[in-house]
Symmetry: C2
Subunit: 588 residues, 2 copies
């Protein structure tokens, strides 16, 4: 049945919505695809729902090709399973929690590892039942602190989440690979260029994780790649630590006056003016050890200060910090924190004092001290001497001070060596479009999912989890496929196959347009027909450009001669041709 615009539930808007920060949000609202209901919560109008359904159909087909079966879980779930894995707490404010009339705790699930695990535990008991991959396409909830960018970071969103179950590590590898390949097919079919990057698996408690990123300069995520094939997001990048240096013959630490040097830049300038030059010829920020005081808030509400020591030419990267200290929340230490720790002299902090360590769990302050991996034993540093306008030089790691551990929180830079030896990395930006995780046995252990193996022994199942944000993907495709006139959908997911526009006041044009629309539908195409009688061609063309069906057929002045115009929305190309040729071309 041809969809006639005169009756269709669609109103395009002339004005951009006032709250739209990104193009996809702006155009999807203006073109009548979505409407905001609350911050980060949207209703889907007919056009939007059609595009969403087409993306879901592609995902379903490729999940079936990967041997995954579809199930469907409720959004409303009881607290207990999430309590057992610790995520009821770990999610913090991002979890929508509620109680039923009897006071029982529930949540709106942000992801479903727990209940998938329990379902398989409920039904399966033998290694013969495995491998298994099951998935759902389902509406999820996350109470984002700042929902933004329309569908890109909503509080309600549709996800395809798949979960694999195996009883051997090799099995997990195979299941993971099958999903990874399904993702490649999905993104290819959706016309979404992608880069697969190593990702941090820690947050989900797993062992291996990769992100599918769409590379774009406007992406919100930074990733690195080397010409030799390494790719990782910055959270997962690992530093190549230099070799340790023997202590023999290294000079002893010397405290010196360093007036007016509260910053790395002033400290370096002062060193070049007053200290003997180093072997490299000149002091640089890389010779200094910067000590950054962070305040962690743990899940139980306790606040802990941690000092991170890193070369002075690097900063602390917020995203890497977040991952490194998860699930604790991290912020810079406040004035109040410094007041509670008078031994920390702001701007002059260092791990060492002549009478013993200042930092580290066994130290004067008892404050945990963690180091960037570049601060290996035998490296010599200029750093704070824990007194106003005093620094120390020739302070040697491993000899004069020790750490409670190493941490990957320093900024990653263009040219840093890839950890796999494949050369220097380049920085790039991208948008996350998919994520695959090897969860390992964390959830199965927490929830007791075991099966009998070939020898009749109970073994814990190992799992993977694989996500694609369907509504996010839709927004990203909109973000990448538009011009100043509106959306330009890839044909595979356009809301309609053809947009027929009748123009003018001549009944012949409308009759021909209606018959062409019917013939195209009969040929199996989904047709939107702009049959509005009292709307000007300009408005109709504007709406067609805004809505973004890639192929537009104009029936107007030439109708009496059987001539129509084919308009390619993407290239802008418009050409006249006989109506039969147009129908044949569109139907082929």
């Amino acid at each position: 049945m041809v969809t006639r615009l005169s009756h269709y539930f669609l109103r395009t808007l002339r004005e951009d919505p006032s709250d739209a920060e990104v193009t996809s949000h702006r155009l999807l609202v203006r073109a009548g695809y979505i409407r905001r209901q609350a911050p980060g919560v949207f209703a889907w109008l007919p056009l939007g729902l059609k595009v969403k359904a087409k993306i879901e159909a592609v995902v379903r087909e490729e999940m079936a090709n990967a041997g995954a079966y579809e199930v469907h879980f409720p959004a409303l779930l009881p607290r207990e399973p999430y309590e057992q894995t610790g995520r009821w707490e770990e999610y913090g404010d991002a979890l929508f929690r509620l109680q039923d009339r009897k006071g029982a705790d529930y949540l709106l699930a942000p992801t479903h590892e727990e209940v998938f695990t329990l379902l398989v535990k409920d039904l399966y008991s033998s290694y013969k039942d495995l491998p298994l991959t099951i998935y759902q396409i389902q509406d999820k909830y996350r109470d984002e602190a700042r929902p933004r960018a329309g569908l890109l970071r909503g509080r309600e969103f549709t996800m395809k989440d798949a979960y694999s179950f195996d009883y051997t590590d090799a099995g997990l590898d195979a299941s993971y690979q099958a999903q990874r390949e399904a993702y490649e097919r999905i993104f290819t079919r959706l016309g979404l260029e992608y880069v697969i990057v190593q990702a941090d698996a820690g947050a989900m408690g797993g062992s291996r994780s990769e992100e599918f990123l769409h590379p774009t300069p406007v992406g919100e995520d930074t990733f690195v790649r080397s010409d030799g094939g390494y790719a990782a997001n910055v959270e997962a990048f690992t530093t190549v630590a230099p070799e340790p240096i023997p202590f023999d013959g290294l000079p002893e630490p010397v405290i010196y006056d360093s007036p007016d040097t509260p910053t790395i830049a002033t400290l370096v300038a002062h060193a070049n003016a007053h200290l003997d030059a180093p072997a490299e010829g000149e002091w640089t920020a890389a010779h200094t050890l910067k000590n950054v005081v962070l305040a962690l808030t743990h899940l139980d509400g306790t606040r802990e200060l941690v000092v991170v020591g890193l070369p002075g030419d690097r900063d602390v990267d917020d995203k890497r910090v977040e991952v490194a200290f998860a699930p604790a929340a991290v912020e810079a230490a406040t004035e109040a924190d410094f007041e509670r720790h008078p031994l920390l002299v702001k701007g002059y902090i260092g791990p060492w004092t002549p009478t013993g360590p200042l930092l580290g769990e066994e130290s004067a302050t008892g404050i945990r001290y963690v180091l960037d991996p570049r601060v290996v034993d035998g490296t010599s540093w200029i750093t704070g001497a824990n007194a106003h306008e005093k620094h120390v030089h020739s302070l040697v790691a491993g000899r004069d001070f020790a750490a409670d551990g190493f941490v990957e929180v320093a900024t990653v830079r263009e040219g840093d060596p890839a950890p796999d030896g494949s050369g220097p990395v380049h920085l790039a930006r991208g948008m996350e479009i998919g994520h695959v995780f090897q969860l390992g046995r964390k959830y199965a252990e927490a929830l007791g999912l075991k099966v009998l193996d070939e020898n009749g022994k109970l073994v814990t199942v190992t799992m993977g989890s694989y996500g694609i944000g369907v509504t996010r993907i839709l927004a990203i495709i909109a973000e990448l496929n538009n011009d100043d006139k509106g959306l330009i959908w890839p044909a595979s997911i356009a809301p309609f196959d053809v947009h027929v526009v009748a123009t003018g006041r001549d009944a012949v044009a409308f009759e021909l347009a209606a018959s062409v629309a019917d013939r195209l539908e009969a040929a199996g195409l989904d047709v939107l027909y702009d049959d509005r009688a009292k709307v000007s061609p300009g408005v109709k063309f504007g709406d067609a450009e805004l809505i973004g069906v890639p192929r537009i057929l104009i029936v107007g002045r030439g109708a009496a001669d059987g001539e129509v115009e084919l308009w390619d929305r993407r290239t802008g190309d418009r050409r006249s041709l006989p109506v039969a040729d147009a129908v044949a071309e569109l139907s082929s």
Copy 2:
């Protein structure tokens, strides 16, 4: 792609789930269609999801045929619109309420009138935009006091809810009729016999309402119908009141001793023993006026007693009471209520005392008094005299006592006259399968949905709302289509078109079964193939019977001779035929 049972995510259970109260729940769990997650909250396994999708497809097609467009609203909605219509409060404990991290109030929507109204208000402004019918198929939430009967009364359930928008009453009639006819087509396609009954429209604030009931002796709803075509559910049935009787010549009330007559039966027996016989020859319960004390809890938490006066041969019907006094919650008055009102003498309550009225807002007690419509002016009653073991006879309505109004709460009985004069009604039972409402202008008024009419005047839009519980329908179909072996799906919504079973240990049977399954799939059928190698024929047949695909093809002993068996799950008929004939028959 043929679905092979050896890999499919399906485990049938031998035992009935312990919490299953109804057949559909028991069989859907045992056959691997659904699993319980929390009270009234279920996960859908692959088989269940397939059946659900088929029902949804039928609903979608008929909505499209009725000119309705699909949209999709979130389940999570802000409080404000529901506050504006009063439903934030009216829903009471049945509404799942929650707050986001900023403390803003949200709900999980049980129905979406408010936001559909606001969406249309947002986009439409002229009568030319109307009529419009839009719908969604969406997961809804209702915090039932006692979720039960599996999917029949869950706390999360999938609904098709449609809403129509018109600017004239005639337009609403037409939109209502279009949905009503779509419902008839849907239920016919789903093989669900139905009766359309008048329903109470009050709860939704509307003017006209009908329910689609599937007539079945095990239905939870009672309805009535006359041979002349009247049909209504008991909540909507209206009493035919007799004509008033002139007071002239009616005897005056007489208080008399009635020892040991706390019940209607004892009172009637006493009257026949001690009072002059009535014109009809004998005193019956119908001559007595029973006064039932109800306690209403209003939305603001206040408790109010109300006395209902009705002929002693009728009881108060719980469902009619619920509707009559909604949104107040109603229960029988408690001992504590009676203690607070010592003028109410339990077992001997009446509206009248020789010194003035006892009941009614202007009376000694101030308690509201409402009457059954049969208690018309001039009717004469035996009723309580408000003292222990005292009654009064010849008490005449309208002369000796008056009411604060009439109320339809008395039980409806076989043989009661239909209000439309179409004869006596019969009682029957059914299950609600759909509901159509003319909401009128309640929601549009509360939320300010107006459009400009032909004369440029702002008019309030009039609305309809139309619901089908998709998951409930699925359960009802399961409830109606089963035997002691398991489910028997109608072909139109069966999870698979054919269930191929290979039996024995002969490779020939498995090879033939696989090739037949492939051929059936190639012919466009959706095939479940039980290819399990080490499972006995008995277990395979039992699973096939439990799962309930209506057509089963057995490939076993006759395989070497090219013979297979076709098994009709519904009739039990099994017959051998050559494989080519079987494929041809199934494919046709």
